[in-house]
Symmetry: C2
Subunit: 134 residues, 2 copies
């Protein structure tokens, strides 16, 4: 990227761990799909490749969303909040966002003093992550 | 709260700092308003009082949204994600969410290699936070 773009990326305030919390939202329906984390390199990749790339805290690695599952998030717009410490991605979600096969990761709702599951899987999880073959 | 409710709250995985990232979304339009943080006590207060309460990292204090500005977020539903480490609040936002007087905090969009401001204040910020009086 050019120096001008790198300077613009300086507006994003990454935390002490080098990460910024990032919301993925379906661009046309407004559905909030997931919350994930990006480091500076993930932001660069998201902007240059036009698809969401996060930083996986569990795997400690860049995570191009959909690289294993095929459920890619195509970037419509990247937004930054007033304090520069949170990012909102407007995306076109292929299939489902959640590793459980549900469209959104936010499928547990607080009702009557406990958690209710309010969505069913649209794709069987085993179809998203097939066992490694010999 | 009852013990049953306290056990249900155990499903929320707060980070090492005791906080969970929380998205506030306008319940009917789907607009993402802001991202803030809650500790366990903030979640309790949000559920019992029916309005959003966060933990202010800058002030290191509980922050009942709107206590100074009057821009309260009335709770419609609290949701938890698949991993239990992110919260989504569906709210009815009184007025504006952002301290700049804009409806949403996410008013900076990445366009043509830099940031564009895509929303104007609906309320003058000085009206939200009047100077302390004698």
């Amino acid at each position: 990227m050019t120096e001008a773009i790198e300077r613009a990326l300086d507006e994003i305030k990454f935390g002490p761990d080098g990460l910024v919390p990032t919301i993925a939202q379906q661009h046309d329906t407004g559905e909030v799909l997931m919350l994930a984390w990006m480091n500076r390199e993930a932001v660069r990749i998201t902007l240059t490749e036009g698809r969401a790339c996060y930083w996986s805290r569990s795997r400690q690695a860049l995570w191009r969303k959909g690289e294993t599952s095929g459920q890619v998030q195509r970037l419509h717009e990247l937004r930054l909040d007033c304090d520069g410490d949170a990012v909102l991605l407007l995306v076109e979600q292929d299939g489902v966002a959640c590793h459980t096969g549900r469209r959104s990761c936010f499928f547990q709702a607080w009702r009557n003093g406990g958690w209710s599951v309010i969505a069913v899987p649209q794709i069987p999880p085993e179809q998203l992550y097939p066992e490694p073959r010999d």
